[in-house]
């Protein structure tokens, strides 16, 4: 009886440890991203997308449009449509090691929602673009893009990290 209890307890411990290791490997695998300078990411986006047709924004504009305080993060690239009625924008945000990006992710989601509210009655094209927007976290980076072909931007971003 004692041996059975001991063995079942040991098996459960092995299972618990295995589950933990598998979870950690999956999380690590999904989050794996190279630590590259923001300038390299910007170069990659510039060479393979239409980002240069947008306006490069300052930290003040990042706060104004995205409600994100740039000083809380390690770096950012933020481009926005030059057209007042354009909703195209690209944001790459780099967090410090171990820093959570969930706040920035919330900010990006809120931005999309508020833009949809603004355009929903008269800008079907813009709304379609916003509904197709991409917000992803990868390693220390947050990538957000609203554009005609957001996949193209995401691909360029993924390729460099």
């Amino acid at each position: 009886m004692k041996t059975i209890v001991k063995n079942s307890s040991l098996i459960l411990k092995i299972i618990l440890t295995a589950v933990l290791i598998i979870f950690l490997l999956v999380v690590y695998g999904q989050a794996n991203a190279k630590d590259v300078p923001m300038s390299t990411i910007e170069k990659a986006l510039t060479s393979s997308t239409d980002i240069q047709q947008m306006h490069k924004c300052s930290s003040r504009e990042l706060m104004e449009f995205m409600s994100i305080d740039a000083s809380q993060y390690k770096g950012f690239i933020y481009y926005k449509s030059k057209n007042a009625l354009g909703v195209e924008e690209v944001l790459v945000l780099k967090a410090a090691r171990g820093q959570s990006l969930s706040g920035a992710e919330d900010a990006a989601e809120s931005r999309i929602d508020s833009q949809i509210t603004t355009f929903e009655n008269y800008g079907p094209e813009q709304v379609a673009m916003l509904k197709n927007a991409i917000v992803v976290k990868k390693g220390q980076y947050l990538f957000y893009c609203t554009a005609k072909n957001p996949d193209k931007y995401e691909e360029a971003f993924n390729h460099v990290i």
Binding site: L16, F23, D35, S67, G98, S102, E105, D106
Partner: protein, 467 residues
């Protein structure tokens, strides 16, 4: 999810309160279930992937506590199970919190450039891991019996009011409350007032002083001056107090609203008269944890002087490391370790005899310098700031920008210093007895002002969320 966010204040909390109080008092199990589901939902907000880690931690520690108990009942010591539990818990914490730090240290020591990805820290991991460990240690020491109901243990570990930034609640302090707790109108009212005070502390002074400190830290070297650097350091000192004690007030207040009584986490630390006194008043649940589970098992002060000094340095090194995986945090911890040793063995008796104002100034200068190590991104940056604060390499003692900062902030800085002491709360208590309506107006004003600030402010997390 943040307590100081519109979604928490106007959606999550009201819904949870309505559902919780819709269940009659006698169905405590159902109320506990509502709190557990709400807590897990609260935790999964933002980082759903780490919900698995929380659920894993609940089941793992629940199961291991029973293993330890059963082994001891069979005549064993339970030591192997304790060690296994400790290793797994610390491995999880280490993997998320210290892996990047270890890799950076290894890379810089060896000159190698091994690529790695530092994962984002699961929110509150340091807090709930320490809660789980306190439970495991208490079961091992037979201070408490293991919880047989996984849902009750899950509620203890994940209870949303204190889940992500403490206070670190020991299982034995809430074990009975999981089975029976009073929820009265008076207690709910006290909790709500405490919560609103906490919200006000975070959204109004903490964010204001945070912005002031950020402004000073971001100044170019040419604009810095000795007094400016001190203004920045004092602003951070006030920011971290209002931020963290505000969070603790909100956590304790929310707990009360649901019938729980958590221990206090702050006792006006900035009126301390010595470093020892400061640490009896600041983040009391963490100092209590280290005292009970590290310092005393190491022998505490009932050992030889060299061993006592070593014990203090171990505890304070670990305290620093708990706060963050960076050398500046380790240094910050050891800084306090050294100062406590000096106070205990060399200057403590002289400080006790000094005039009260000298004691306050002494304690606060040490605390402010400590926060410079704590708030700087690296040890090097902390040293640069300290150099300027003490006039080494500073372009000026005072300049036009300092005068501008003083003229625009001095009144609020003085108000911040005054409000960080016990007097305003004593006055409020007296006012509460004399004119409850006026008190309600004050609290309502705090709520309205805080909400207005929240609507127009950017995402602004609590400082202690990163731990």
């Amino acid at each position: 999810m943040l307590f100081s966010s519109i979604i928490f204040l106007f959606y999550f909390l009201p819904i949870v309160l309505v559902v919780y109080f819709a269940i009659p008092r006698r169905y405590l199990r159902a109320r506990n279930m509502v709190l557990l589901i709400a807590s897990l939902f609260f935790y999964s907000w933002g980082e759903p992937v780490y919900l698995f880690l929380m659920v894993y931690s609940i089941f793992f520690n629940y199961f291991m506590a029973i293993q330890i108990f059963n082994e001891q009942r069979r005549g064993g010591t339970g030591r192997k199970n304790l060690l296994f539990t400790l290793i797994i818990n610390l491995f999880i914490l280490g993997f998320f919190k210290y892996f990047g730090f270890l890799m950076d240290t290894f890379n810089s020591l060896t000159g190698l450039h091994i690529h790695y990805t530092a994962l984002s820290l699961p929110i509150g991991i340091s807090f709930y891991t320490f809660q789980a460990l306190s439970y495991i240690f208490d079961v091992y020491k037979k201070t408490v019996r293991p919880q047989q109901n996984p849902l009750k243990f899950g509620l203890y570990l994940s209870l949303f009011p204190q889940l992500i930034a403490g206070p670190i609640v020991k299982y034995r302090d809430v074990a009975e409350q999981l089975v029976y707790r009073e929820t009265t109108k008076e207690k709910f009212g006290q909790g709500a007032i405490r919560f609103m005070f906490g919200l006000g502390k975070k959204v109004l002074p903490a964010n204001y002083f945070g912005a002031l400190n950020t402004g000073v830290v971001g100044l170019p070297d040419s604009k810095s001056a000795v007094v400016t650097a001190w203004i920045g350091a004092v602003a951070y000192t006030l920011q971290i107090y209002f931020d963290f004690s505000g969070y603790s007030d909100m956590a304790i207040g929310l707990g009360k609203m649901f019938g729980f009584d958590f221990l206090e986490n702050f006792n006006y630390p900035y009126i301390a008269r010595s470093v020892t006194d400061f640490w009896r008043r600041w983040h009391m649940s963490l100092s209590g944890w280290f005292r009970e589970y590290v310092y005393i098992p190491l022998g505490g002060n009932r050992v030889t002087v060299p061993r006592h000094i070593l014990n203090l340095m171990i505890v304070w090194g670990l305290t620093g490391l708990w706060h963050g995986a960076a050398w500046n945090f380790v240094f910050w911890g050891l800084y306090y370790g050294v100062l406590l040793v000096i106070e205990k063995y060399l200057i403590g008796k002289y400080i006790a005899k000094a005039p009260v104002w000298v004691q306050h100034v002494y304690a606060m200068v040490i605390v402010i310098i400590g926060w410079v190590f704590f708030s700087s991104a690296t040890l090097g940056k902390a040293m640069d700031t300290l150099s300027i604060m003490f006039g080494v390499g500073a372009p000026a003692f005072i300049n036009m920008h300092t005068i501008y900062l003083l003229r625009t902030n001095i009144l609020l800085l003085i108000a911040g210093v005054l409000v960080s002491g016990p007097r305003p709360m004593e006055k409020f208590r007296k006012l509460e007895e004399r004119s409850p309506i006026l008190c309600l107006v004050c609290i309502f004003a705090i709520l309205v002002l805080s909400t207005a600030c929240l609507i127009y402010s950017s995402y602004n997390p609590f400082l202690y969320f990163r731990f």
